[in-house]
């Protein structure tokens, strides 16, 4: 049975087709999910892709979180369904309160589009179950507002509960200041909800799916989710 990915499309989303291409490379099926619909079309995995949903007006993700589709996504997540928020999708998940914290303007005040190294901090999510802790992934970022922030108590909880999924690091795996592209607290690049079925990350795994383009490390996240679903009973 083929796994079906749903890819959300808001006005201003631009990474939906890249995500569909990445899913196609795994052999799975994908369908677009229109923001004004409440129908997830039977998808097992929902991707909230990158872009500028509703122009990022007011704050990135602030308007998109109220889209009818997001009610269905929230329900899907509550029932244990998989949700992957990439870049703008991560911002939307934070604004929706489905993940803690917020994404602020990069400390450089510049839009950053560059390859980064990510260190896998947690494998307790279907999206990274196929990786080893400490493993490095080569995945690019592309954003102006990706500086993860949360109050100290929340960050402490994310760390102690193993919910920091990915950290920016250098090629040796050190989460150094220089390897941090946006000033994120503790080099945090991606976080999980409590159950691990919702992952939000600023880097773009869908842009790291072919060796020819520099890396296919991003494919691991999609394949890992597919393997997880295939192993479920029934």
């Amino acid at each position: 049975m083929s796994v079906r990915f749903g890819i959300a499309v808001f006005p201003g989303t631009w990474s939906d087709r890249d995500c569909a291409h990445a899913v196609a490379l795994t052999g799975a099926e994908s369908v677009p999910l229109w923001h004004a619909d409440r129908d997830l079309k039977g998808c097992e995995v929902v991707i909230l892709p990158g872009g500028f949903a509703y122009g990022d007006y007011l704050r990135a993700g602030a308007i998109a979180r109220f889209a009818p589709l997001m009610e269905a996504v929230r329900e899907h997540a509550l029932q244990g369904g998989l949700v992957l928020g990439i870049c703008n999708g991560f911002q939307i998940l934070c604004e929706a309160g489905m993940l803690p914290g917020a994404l602020l303007r990069n400390s450089s005040l510049q839009f950053r589009c560059q390859p980064t190294w990510l260190r896998v901090e947690s494998t307790s999510t279907p999206f990274l179950a196929d990786c080893q802790r400490g493993q490095l992934l080569r995945v690019p970022v592309s954003h102006g507002e990706g500086r993860f922030f949360a109050d100290p108590e929340t960050v402490g909880r994310l760390n102690s509960e193993g919910r920091v999924a990915l950290r920016y690091c250098d090629q040796a795996g050190e989460p150094s200041h220089l390897a941090n592209p946006n000033g994120s607290l503790q080099n945090i690049a991606g976080i999980l909800n409590q159950q691990g079925n919702v992952l939000g990350m600023m880097p773009h795994p869908e842009r790291a799916c072919e060796e020819l383009l520099g890396s296919d490390d991003g494919l691991r996240l999609f394949n890992s989710a597919i393997q997880h679903l295939a192993a479920l009973p029934g």
Binding site: L58, A62, A102, R105, N106, L109
Partner: protein
């Protein structure tokens, strides 16, 4: 307190323009709403709710607002 890189740049710029007394600058947003509502107390409650639900993200922002009657058109 949330790091505000825009505020830091503004602070630096004011220092270079000869305003060393500036100890801190923070950049925020200004939102102007016009309401069809005659009752101030009711307006206050509604605007406060708007701030909490949409206009302000409590993780990174604070808000305050003032109400002013507008002359009838």
């Amino acid at each position: 307190m949330v790091n505000d890189p825009q505020g830091l740049v503004v602070e630096d710029a004011l220092h270079s323009l000869g305003y060393p007394e500036v100890e801190e600058a923070r950049v925020g947003k200004f939102i102007r709403l016009e309401l069809a509502e005659a009752d101030m107390e009711s307006a206050r409650g509604r605007v406060d709710e708007m701030c909490r639900r949409l206009l302000c993200n409590g993780v990174i922002e604070d808000y305050r607002f003032e109400l002013r009657p507008v002359p009838a058109a």
